[in-house]
């Protein structure tokens, strides 16, 4: 069962320091917030897509394609309700609110994609180390990475359990969405129980290996910023600086948009 989120490839993106990847993630996060107009978001969006290609993480994005689809559709519909403009399009939709909704969708899509890239290219321990080096307490970093680790565990047990039920004649593949959800719900009972059980052993194993035995702690994993890291950082700092400057200069806004 392939449920791991980390993709064990050796792309240039994988080789970057975890700190660089976290900062790049934050840069894009800030960058997309600077623009409302989807046309102005295109360069950022292309930048995200380029990273997706270089890091070969599209596979993980494909796994959550249904989530992305639902998110995109609801985002487009909802933002049209919560914003209005001056040029009518049809029904509650206006040209301005439509533009705005498109922009917000690109924003959500970019941030989710960046998150997927980060997790797909960074080992758990590197992520913790990166966060610690950037000033986060060890326990907080460990907690974040542990919750990420839960995803593959839950996915694996869900796969086994649905196989067990299909063997008993439960048809999980037909019916409309509502019917399918209804059939799926009882399966969550064994999923929760086995997750709780696993977490319990995990907790015991952790303590038995001395987790939190002392205040100080050494780290075996060492991280080294390379020239490539500094180059990437320089590029993204420049990107953020330009984005903020454009925003301050008043570019990238949608004229005539009213938000509620």
């Amino acid at each position: 069962m392939e449920a791991e989120l980390y993709l064990d490839y050796n792309t240039p993106y994988h080789r970057l320091d975890a700190r660089t990847k976290i900062i790049v993630f934050l840069c894009i996060f800030v960058g997309v917030l600077m623009f409302q107009d989807p046309r102005w978001l295109i360069p950022t969006f292309l930048l995200v897509l380029a990273q997706l290609l270089v890091s070969r993480s599209a596979k993980n994005l494909q796994r959550i394609r249904y989530v992305l689809l639902v998110m995109s559709i609801s985002s487009i519909v909802l933002w049209n309700f919560f914003a209005s403009g001056v040029t009518p399009l049809f029904w509650v939709f206006e040209v301005e609110s439509m533009y705005y909704a498109l922009g917000r969708t690109i924003l959500i899509f970019s941030i989710v994609t960046m998150g997927v890239i980060l997790i797909s290219t960074t080992r758990n321990e590197e992520l913790i180390m990166g966060m610690i080096k950037m000033g986060l307490p060890y326990r907080v970093g460990f907690a974040i990475s542990t919750s990420l680790r839960l995803v593959p565990t839950v996915a694996t047990s869900l796969a086994t359990i649905s196989q067990a039920q299909r063997s008993r004649g439960l048809d999980l593949e037909s019916g409309n969405v509502l019917e399918r959800v209804k059939k799926f719900l009882p399966l969550l009972v064994p999923v929760f129980l086995s997750t709780i059980r696993n977490t319990n052993i995990f907790g015991m194993a952790l303590e038995s290996r001395g987790f939190g035995a002392r205040e100080d702690r050494t780290y075996y994993l060492q991280m080294q910023m390379t020239k490539a890291d500094w180059a990437v950082l320089a590029f993204f700092f420049l990107y953020v600086a330009i984005s903020i400057w454009l925003n301050v200069m008043g570019y990238g806004k949608i004229v005539g948009l009213v938000r509620f």
């Binding site: 980390y6 008993r168 009882p186 052993i201 303590e207 038995s208 035995a213």
Partner: protein, 574 residues
């Protein structure tokens, strides 16, 4: 110097929310360098005692603790689990859940990191301990890509990296195939020779505990007997009365000379000893009686072969979506009314093969036919009616609040009239030995009872074939026996049975025919007796017959049970 490393004084513990003590008045002391094995049936309190030693009880599990546990002069009450970790290492049974790093060397580094060991020394400890357990070549691999046996070895290495003085292992081999088990025991054996390490292992496989200095028998939370390993193992009657598996060899010799007292010091324990003792007694195997036994089996095989196969695989190949080839050209026939075992190393493809029989997986090439039709054309829903599949872990299957709901789930899905469902449930529960348990909550039942509920739930749709994946894992000897006796009864009442197992004695006692899978290929096939006579080939497939069968192979015959050999033996005093 003479101060024992581990002292347990009058220890009593009760889990919160329970009425009975899990362990009661345990007194035990382990000298430095000693190797003690803790044995006992399910629910005897073995794991409870093991988790008391590193302080998980009383710090992690809350409850009522009386008495003391003192390790290297430290009382567990006064130190946290993490602080105890430097002195006591604990290896768990579940090899999946106790590993949490993405990389083998980081897994080993985790413990020393917590104790602020300098980085250079951590590097040293990684090299040392990975070499010790034989995983040096896997240093940069993610643990999830290791086999079960390797994962358990990694767990041992990562605990040893803390350089503990006491190592506790809680059923470390339960989920492993015979050779992986031996790998762990080979490590245990080397650890035992280290004078600086005190070993306490919870185990219920009798053949594997021969190396121990002492054995402590536990029942209902109390110590029944503590003594030198060989002395305890020779007391087959006591071991059997506790619901543990006696050594087949010792059982045989005890039965052959009933006048020997329980303290008989000369009862053989190992195959080679047994062969010598057998010949010294002037015993011989009667070739005619043995020949009749073999002839009867050959005849049965002919009768089966005359029928139309129920399941028929031809050149079955299967690759997972990621391109890994799991099955590579398997052809086999399974006949109605048969009881067959599928065996093989962890990851050899036996479960993948079995999942083809009920259509959970469809072949990449080749065909699988059930009742004369391919699984592709029948689909999993229709196949579920004729092929029932019981998964390894009953907790993956059970989700209802009452046994009745759980067992009636299948019949309801298949539209059985309501008035028949009740009778069907009652009938099925009777077949699995859970008569009248309809209203019970499956989640509060014991593991072996949940296993039976899972079997009942599959049986309720009255399939022709019942596939059981590891039906005896996690059960003690007595539970394993009663589970398999039930399976045999189902077979006698007409069900075709296919079971996957790591327990070779279960194969020897219950299967008529055996398929050995190795690296996705059918490696060996034949009646149980034929297969167990090929000891060398089995070894290549990482399997090993029980000691008793090894002993009879040394005699030149393959006997599956002590009673068979007794019936075939003549001469001497017998």
């Amino acid at each position: 110097m003479t101060e024992p490393t581990l002292v347990i004084q009058d220890l009593t513990y009760r889990y919160r929310g329970t009425k009975e003590n899990a362990i009661e008045a345990i007194d035990l002391a382990l000298e430095r360098g000693e190797f003690l094995v803790l044995m006992g049936p399910t629910g005897a309190g073995k794991s409870t005692l093991a988790t008391c030693i590193n302080g998980l009880i009383p710090h992690f599990h809350k409850g009522k603790l009386e008495g003391n546990v003192i390790v290297c002069g430290k009382n567990t009450r006064e130190h946290t689990v993490a602080q105890m970790a430097e002195d006591v290492g604990l290896v768990f049974q579940d090899f999946e859940a106790q590993l949490f790093s993405t990389n083998v060397e980081l897994e080993v580094a985790f413990g020393p990191e917590n104790f602020a060991v300098p980085r250079e020394e951590i590097g040293q400890r990684i090299i040392e301990n990975l070499a010790y357990v034989g995983l040096s070549d896997f240093r940069n691999r993610p643990p999830s890509t290791l086999s079960g046996g390797q994962k358990q070895k990694l767990a041992v290495a990562s605990v040893l990296a803390l350089q503990p003085k006491v190592l506790v292992m809680d059923e470390p081999t339960t989920d492993l195939d015979p050779i992986s088990k031996m790998g762990i025991f080979e490590i245990t054996n080397r650890l035992r020779q280290r004078s600086d390490l005190t070993l306490l292992v919870v185990e219920h496989e009798t053949e594997e505990v021969l190396q121990a200095n002492r054995i402590a028998l536990l029942k209902d939370g109390r110590l029944v007997k503590v003594g030198p390993a060989h002395e305890i193992l020779r007391d087959v009657d006591l071991i059997e009365s506790l619901g543990l598996m006696p050594l087949g060899i010792t059982r045989f010799f005890k039965d052959m000379s009933p006048e020997a007292s329980t303290a008989a010091v000369d009862l053989p324990l190992l195959p080679v000893e047994a062969e010598t003792a057998y010949r010294n007694n002037g015993w011989q195997v009667c070739p005619q009686t043995y020949g009749a036994l073999v002839a009867k089996e050959a005849e049965a095989e002919q009768t089966f072969r005359a029928k139309d196969p129920l399941i028929c695989c031809r050149d079955l190949e299967f690759s997972y979506p990621n391109g890994v080839k799991a099955l590579d050209g398997i052809s086999l026939d399974i006949y109605p009314g048969d009881i067959v075992a599928i065996v093989g190393q962890n990851g050899s493809g036996k479960t993948t093969l079995a999942k083809h029989f009920n259509g959970l997986l469809l072949p990449t090439s080749g065909t699988v036919m059930v009742n004369g039709k391919t699984t592709k054309e029948q689909g999993i829903f229709r196949l579920g009616q004729s092929v029932g599949y019981v998964f390894q872990n009953p907790d993956h299957q059970i989700f209802s609040e009452t046994v009745y709901d759980e067992v009636s789930f299948g019949p309801r899905l298949r539209g059985l009239p309501a008035d028949q469902i009740e009778a069907r449930v009652a009938e099925t529960l009777k077949a699995v030995g859970l008569e009248g348990a309809e209203e019970e909550d499956p989640f509060s039942m014991t593991k072996s009872a949940r296993q039976r509920v899972a079997v009942a739930a599959v049986l309720a749709v009255q399939p022709d074939v019942l596939i059981l994946d590891e039906p005896t894992t996690g059960l003690d000897y007595r539970e394993q026996r009663s589970m398999m006796d039930m399976v045999r009864r189902l077979n006698e009442n007409g069900s075709t049975i296919i079971f996957i197992t790591h327990h070779m004695w279960v194969v020897a006692e219950y299967a008529r025919k055996v398929f050995v899978v190795k690296d996705g290929r059918l490696f060996l096939e034949g009646t149980t007796r034929e297969v167990f006579s090929h000891e060398q080939e089995l070894l290549e497939a990482s399997l090993r017959p029980p000691h008793f069968i090894q002993f009879t192979n040394l005699l030149g015959y393959t006997m599956l049970r002590p009673a068979e050999l007794a019936a075939c033996t003549k001469g001497g005093g017998a």
